[in-house]
Amino acid sequence: MKTLIQTVSLVAGLILAAGCATPVPMSSIESTAKRPATLNAGSRIAILPIAARVGGQRYLASLSAAQEVYLERVGATTGIKAGRDIEKKFSEQGNLTAAYQAILEKLLDRDPNLCVAQEDILTTLDSKPWNGQSGIKYEKLSDINTLVAGKATQRGSAAAPAANAVAREIRLQWNVRTKAKASYEPLPLASVKELSQALECDYVLIPVVRDSYNYVKQWFAFTIIPVFRTTGVYRMNDMAFYLVDGASGEVVQALQITENRAPQAASNDALVMVLALNKMIQKGDSFGSFTFR
């Protein structure tokens, strides 16, 4: 009887543990050295269409939808332009595509500035929930994937609804490395100016999804079952964001986020996109206040 009770309580404990908040482990590297302190004060920012090499194209529908959700949450009066407004401009002015392409040539592939170095400053997100004044509004975050799945469906997208794979109760585990040294060459100035003038913005934010396919071979060796090996192909969520000054063509802030869970990495794409935009743009407290220590 005692053993039975112990077993039942153990199983119940495991079920309860599995049903509790699911952490989203993320790590990011950023370079903020050139970000002006005055950027928040009424700056107009245009979020350009997400860029990816051909292999990553099929993941972009849900990420584009995530941008729309972000805009809905932060409000349209914050000086941010994105989505269909931007696409309309691109459609009306054919030269913008060429200008954007010229910029992407410099940014689309691996960024050596965003590699981990020993001198980087490591901070961790204070993940406490919103208390009315500070903290994170988890209830706002937990609905994002559902909203994104709805938008992707509206568009007739073939992308798998993200909501199926995501727990509604989430917690964040976010480590941020801030680069002590990073030097970006100015982007093609004529192209940046052309875009910023056409889109009537002070800064352009360029989201890049790097087609990073991981071939992982793992050795399993444990005491009961003999050694065996498995192979998997995983996509790591490498999303990079570049905030570019429309007047000088300089990258004023760069952020690259990796979701640290190889096999399940794709499950929180939309959430990561929204968090990244929130960190880069820093307007309003729709999702709470994010403090890194």
């Binding site: 112990q6 077993t7 153990l10 199983v11 495991l14 482990p25 350009l48 269409p49 997400i50 860029a51 990816a52 090499r53 051909v54 292999g55 990553g56 194209q57 099929r58 972009l60 529908a61 584009s64 269909r84 696409e87 691109f90 459609s91 054919g94 595509t97 060429a98 954007y100 392409q101 992407l104 689309l108 592939d109 691996r110 981990v116 568009r155 073939a158 087609d211 990073s212 396919y213 991981n214 071939y215 992982v216 071979k217 793992q218 050795w219 399993f220 060796a221 444990f222 009961i224 050694v227 192979t231 998997g232 192909v233 995983y234 790591m236 990796t258 640290n260 869970r261 190889a262 096999p263």
Partner: protein, 227 residues
Amino acid sequence: MKRALCVLAVVAGVSLSQCGCRTTLLESYAPPKSGRCQSTEKILGLPPLAGGIQISAPFRQNLELELDKVLAERWGAQYVPLSQGKQSCQALLAKWTTQMSCDYDLAARLRVNASLCQDLAQASGCRYAILPTVGRCNSDAANILNVTYVIPAGLVIIVGNVPIFLGKYQANDMSVCTMTLLDLKEGAVISEAAMASRDKMSESGATYPGALINAIGRSAKIKQRKI
């Protein structure tokens, strides 16, 4: 001792290696019979797009020939070969290649170029189009620590595995090919298949469309096979 046995965690080894020639189908392809594409409507073959790599003229030519051959076998009279499309709407296809060569969200590009899509649909008489792409992606290798736990709980033994991501490092670039089924009338992506290979793209191009087309209709989400 008994209690200690109750929660017994066994840490597995960590290792990672990469070798061999392997082509990996990363996503399944939805064939026209899936209902999202009407079987009565015609499908136009579009010229291949390159992303991040230069493709030579002979390679492009081989690719186009192979595509026409394999897609015609697959869809019969429903498929309008690229060679035929080049005759009937040469100027529009040239415009397509110019305007669609950039690298960003394909769905966004289609919306931006909605009028071009509709012109192509009108000129070719095809509602749908198949767009092949060749390009590259970064192949990263990851170090994963697998912690395997064994919990004897009475008659039940719970065995599980927790992969812990330790970090990743740069490996070689990979070739990646995609095939996308487009709705020209709506300017939308219907479905897409991608195939990544650790081999450099063969200039003959002979295996590319064949291998991808052979995958049509297979339901595997992530499936690996050697070629």
